[in-house]
């Protein structure tokens, strides 16, 4: 068991590209830390630096009170679960788990005990003689977990371990990993690009973007008080609506002058015929598209937008300029072409500086 501490950790490549631009965070003993961010944000690089698979350009990585910058991966007392599992295809499940222990010269009896115990926990006992090629995706994932567990390391590292599984299995394995980690209470660092996985697994959530940390904290705190517009749109699905606050129909009383962007989560809207909640906002929308998925309904509404007002963003995957997404429970709701009024109370509003880099408390 160990604390993990990163101080001013930097990574630059010989070609000058800076993958990690100074990252600091701490993971307490037995905590589950999730690094989340879009692809290319440096989260995997950072994990690989902790593992010792990438060199550290600057700063200090400390595992259990020992600075490991110059320590070989095998000597860091860690275990890693790879995205593609990286099982040895020619070895049986048993040997896959036992290989690392044998290389460390552990006595045969002890290896047997540890592998059998891990196989029992992971329900792999019946398939110890099989080769990885004969296993399903979920079973391979378990073997990869088993290979990590038998080592009884100070620290588990997970590199998107669920991304090769189908949706249902992913949810089930997510719950299993969390339960297992709670029981072993081994400090863990987990990398994912899936915000849902991040929200449900993390004790500490580290949101990364462009090689930097955007926000660190408890998942729900981050959800409720995103520090930047990046975090606001990345955490929570569908993403938060962001509206330039000088925009039409937005009277945000009492907000600081620097509050250039207002954010409202789709689920915080309500549809009301008239009235504006005190201090809140009301938007007139023309319904463009409706997606009814059963438990809830998504309404894509077009806000009237003055031509000269630039909207916040229209990157692919984000909402189009002037488009607002409203989520309401159930399967009712307006029809395409209807005009609706979406209102949100003041306590559900988020405000950010115009550049989106800082949150402003309302």
């Amino acid at each position: 068991m160990a604390n993990v501490t990163l101080r001013h950790v930097r990574k630059a490549y010989p070609n000058g590209f800076e993958a990690i631009k100074g990252v600091d965070f701490d993971v307490g003993d037995g905590q589950f830390c999730v690094l989340v961010g879009p692809s290319g944000c440096g989260k995997s690089t950072l994990l690989r630096m902790v593992a010792g698979l990438e060199t550290v350009t600057g700063g200090v990585i400390d595992i259990g009170g020992r600075i490991v910058n110059q320590v070989e991966p095998a000597d860091r007392d860690i275990a890693m679960v790879f995205q593609n599992y990286a099982l040895y295809p020619h070895m049986s499940v048993y040997n896959n788990m036992a290989y690392g222990l044998r290389n460390r010269g552990m006595p045969k009896g002890e290896i047997e005990t540890r592998v059998q115990e891990a196989a029992r926990v992971l329900e792999l006992s019946a398939m110890l003689d099989r080769k990885p090629g004969q296993l399903s995706g979920g079973q391979r994932q378990r073997v990869a977990m088993g290979r990590a567990i038998v080592r009884q390391p100070k620290l588990f590292l997970f590199d998107e371990p669920l991304s090769n599984l189908d949706a249902k299995l992913r949810i089930a394995m997510r719950v299993e990993i969390r339960k297992l980690q709670r029981r072993l209470s081994t400090t863990s660092i987990y990398v994912t690009h899936d915000q849902l996985e991040a929200m449900t697994l993390a004790d500490i959530l580290v949101v990364m973007n462009g090689g930097q940390v955007e926000q660190i904290g408890n998942p729900l705190d981050i959800y409720q008080k995103p520090a930047t517009t990046f975090v606001a749109t990345f955490i929570g699905a569908p993403p938060m609506n962001l509206i330039p606050s000088r925009d039409c129909g937005l009277h945000l009383e009492g907000a600081a002058a620097e509050a250039g962007i207002v954010g409202i989560r789709p689920e915080d809207f309500q549809i009301a015929a008239n009235g504006v909640p005190a201090g809140g906002i009301a938007l007139g929308l023309t319904v463009e598209t409706i997606e009814r998925v059963g438990a809830e309904t998504y309404i894509y509404g077009l806000r009237t937008q003055p031509e000269d007002q630039p909207a916040v963003s229209a990157k692919p995957g984000e909402l189009r300029t002037g488009e607002i997404l409203v989520r309401i429970p159930g399967q009712s709701g307006p029809a395409i072409g209807d005009r609706i009024r979406a209102v949100a109370p003041r306590e559900k509003l988020h405000a950010f500086t115009t550049d989106g880099r800082r949150r402003i408390d309302l």
Binding site: A51, G52, L53, E72, P73, A74, I78, A79, M80, F82, Q83, N84, Y85, A86, L87, Y88, P89, H90, Y99, G100, N103, R104, R147
Partner: protein
């Protein structure tokens, strides 16, 4: 499970059939010729069905050879060819797998430069660099020895490249998992890379064995002793007698015998070989 409709029509079938006939017919002729008497063949009246002298011709060829030209029984020639072919194939595989391992999994200064120097030099096979190679082999007193026969032929750029290609497809994560599991470079090579390469090694062995079996120029230069004469040289000697007295049946029998070991290697290694070749289909 899934059947895919391919383009299907008669034309390619016929073309391939024609190809089979063109390629296989000479060999069929050779088999037939080896079972008739020399006088029949020399008369140009060879029938297209097997004759009756097959067994005695082959026996004669293997144990006493074509006395008039090569002074060696074909059995001895085959042994010499076998030693050379196995030596070359095994040596080439050992050298090239190690080189490919160094090139793919190690990073050191001028890695690519080294690779290209070796590569361009080795792309020039022994026939082209035969002159300096001969001089050095001779200076090292390796003439008339199996070492001299085999060693200059075992460096192989093509095999190195094939192994390099295969190693490139080995997931980086496997190397990293190995490191995490405390396996150093030597352990990784023997515990993981070598077992994974078995089918590739088998496929290469087949190809290189046949390459070695077919060597002509180098053995011709290096060996003068009769008992190191390879079968390909033997065939050449028989064919070179341009007169009516050519022992056609013995010659054809020798040709058939020369084909046997390559065919045997292909057939024996077939399962591993095919596995090695169709691996991308997985």
């Amino acid at each position: 499970m899934v059947e895919h409709r391919r383009f299907g029509n008669l034309l390619p079938h016929l073309i391939l059939l024609a190809g089979v006939v063109v390629v296989a017919f000479p060999i069929y002729l050779a088999v037939i010729a080896s079972t008739h008497t020399d006088s029949l063949i020399a008369n140009g009246q060879m029938p297209l069905y097997p004759g009756t002298h097959g067994l005695e011709t082959y026996w004669h060829t293997i144990v006493s050879g074509t006395g008039r030209t090569t002074r060696q029984p074909v059995g001895d020639m085959m042994l010499a060819s076998l030693i050379m072919a196995v030596g070359i194939a095994a040596g080439k595989i050992a050298i090239s797998i190690i080189s490919a391992y160094a090139i793919v999994f190690f990073s050191f200064p001028f890695r690519m430069t080294t690779f290209w120097v070796i590569f361009i030099t080795l792309m020039l096979p022994v026939e082209v660099r035969i002159f300096p190679t001969y001089k050095i082999t001779s200076d090292m007193h390796l003439l008339d020895s199996y070492s001299g026969l085999i060693l200059p032929l075992i460096a192989s750029a093509t095999a190195t490249l094939l192994f390099r290609q295969f190693f490139m497809t080995v997931p980086k994560e496997l190397v990293e998992a190995s490191k995490m599991d405390g396996a150093g470079p030597i352990r990784f090579f023997f515990d993981t890379l070598l077992p994974l390469s078995v089918t590739n090694i088998a496929a290469l062995f087949v190809i290189l064995f046949i390459y070695g079996w077919n060597q002509y120029l180098w053995p011709l230069l290096i060996t003068t002793r009769d008992d190191m004469q390879t079968i390909v040289i033997g065939i050449k000697k028989i064919i070179d007698v341009h007169d009516a007295l050519t022992e056609w049946s013995v010659a054809m029998a020798t040709a058939m015998l020369a084909m046997l070991p390559p065919v045997a290697v292909v057939v024996l290694m077939q399962r591993l070989f095919v596995k090695g070749l169709i691996e991308t289909e997985k």
